[in-house]
Amino acid sequence: MTFAHPLWLIAGIVLAALFLGLAQRAARRGAASALAYSNLDFFEQATRRRFDPALAIVLAAALGVVALAGALAGPRFFANVPVRGGAVVLCVDTSGSMRATDVAPTRADAAAAAVRAFVDAVPNGTRLAIVAFSSGAGVVAPLTDDKDAVRDAISRIPPPNGGTAIGDALAIAARVLPPSGKRAIVLVTDGVNNLGADPLAVAPQVGAAGIEIDTIGIGTNGSGQLIPGTALEAGMDEDALRTIAGSAHGAYARANDASSLRTRLAALANSTTKEKKRIDASLPLAIFGGLITLLAVAGGLLAGRFP
């Protein structure tokens, strides 16, 4: 957190200390005019309270002064705030290797379920699109903020078959996205690029356009699992996926099972639709401080006398 005018904060703290000092002085003065009572122990026992409202009012007034001074100091901080009108394209691998069952029930079904979880977790107003890719890439759901339409489109994702054209998928996804605003591509794949454009060349261009690419690798690398119907082992080029994410301001994550895949995607639904913004807390702090001070003073006056 930074302050535009830190001197105001110091002045406020000094003022609050002064206020507390004056309150104490007033208490000492008030002692001289205190009302004599026969037996204070009996009085306290008879009217016992759990807390001292006088102390609460003095502290509230001091807190109000500090908050007002804090507001004058212009506090600013960075926070992740939801982006209205952000856009995300989900690139889902539908190559033949997605038939593998190391992620139950199959990688393709687990990916579809995770995509559904992603759609559910995304804040309303965020536009979504789905691009499916195998030997080629195609838009399954155009960019829309209608979540139901996107959920319907998930069932239209083609069954797993063919090669893996990651570079083509990234290029199409970039074209689907609007030219400005918060934009992200979430790539869900289990394989190695073996067709079309080189993703390591496409990713930096996408990143340069201000689009974030997050990659998720599905499956168990080196497990000896074969792509069903072939004699090929279902491997994954994690280094490539990491490089793709790194060159477009994103991050790579690996999901070995359906549940972790869902978790990763739900987390991405949160991070890709938020952005770090500098927040000026002066106004809310001023309102809070003013309100607390007013309440403390009004409470003190209503209670008969200000302590």
Binding site: A36, Y37, S38, N39, D41, E44, R49, D52
Partner: protein
């Protein structure tokens, strides 16, 4: 005859106690008029007051009490807690009561005022003397038990704040015709405080800032009533005649304790 003196005599006779076979310190030397009352069959005809009978239109009998010298003793709580009050200090009312008490002295009656661990027997000084040291009810009562003759009439005025379980109330009631005037909390029925107030303990000088709201006032009223009832019960159970010292009028408080106006 002083009405209070007669009441003290009547009260002392009406409540004979074990160990108090002799009501006075000296034997009686005659009879003194006490009151007029309607004639009851069996009354000595010589006691019929003809003037009163003519005035009233029915037979009136003069009641005489055996003249007895009294010993009137007093213990007055003069601690700082008695110096509080709503319009005037309770101590002022206590002084009025004690003056009225010793005002009942007649003839050969004797006085005994326990002040500062000593007994003032001077009849003129007894109602006026002031304590200088710290007052302890228990200590004063113990001195009375040792120094005041058996059968004396004892008046104690206190707010009861320093009463302990060890205070020899029962022993005092057996030895004396004991009367207590319990100082009524001036704020008993309505705590005249609102909001934040600073209170100072009259005895210790301790300060405390307290908040008094409707709930606190209600709690205080209940606690004050309960405390007074408990104190009255304790003295009554011990065999004392119990009255209330009202801030406004100490003499009237004493008279009420003896059912006098």
């Amino acid at each position: 005859m002083n009405a209070l003196r007669a009441a003290i005599l009547r009260g002392a006779r009406a409540t004979p106690r074990a160990g108090a076979a002799t009501r006075g310190t000296r034997p009686g030397d005659g009879f003194v008029f006490s009151q007029l009352r309607a004639y009851v069959e069996g009354d000595d005809p010589r006691r019929i007051d003809h003037a009163a009978t003519a005035r009233v239109g029915a037979l009136q009998t003069r009641v005489y009490l055996e003249e007895t010298t009294l010993v009137l003793a007093a213990i007055v709580d003069e601690s700082a807690s008695m110096r509080v009050g709503r319009r005037r200090p309770l101590a002022a009312a206590a002084r009025e009561a004690v003056r009225a008490w010793f005002g009942a002295l007649e003839g050969e009656d004797a006085a005994a005022r326990i002040v500062d661990e000593r007994v003032v027997r001077d009849r003129r000084a007894a109602p006026l003397v002031r304590a200088r040291g710290e007052f302890r009810f228990e200590g004063a009562l113990t001195i009375a038990l040792c120094a005041v003759p058996r059968g004396a009439s004892l008046l104690a005025i206190t707010d009861g704040f320093d009463l302990t379980g060890e205070t020899p109330l029962e022993r005092a009631a057996l030895r004396f015709d004991a009367t207590v005037l319990l100082a009524r909390d001036p704020w008993r029925d309505d705590l005249p405080l609102r909001g934040f107030v600073r209170l100072r303990d009259a005895e210790s000088g301790r300060m405390r800032r307290v908040f008094v709201g409707a709930r606190e006032r209600a709690r205080y009223r209940a606690a004050s009533h309960a405390r007074e009832a408990a104190l009255r019960g304790r003295f009554r159970d011990a065999g004392w005649r119990v009255g209330t010292l009202e801030e406004e009028d100490g003499r009237a408080s004493l008279m009420h304790a003896f059912a006098l106006r």
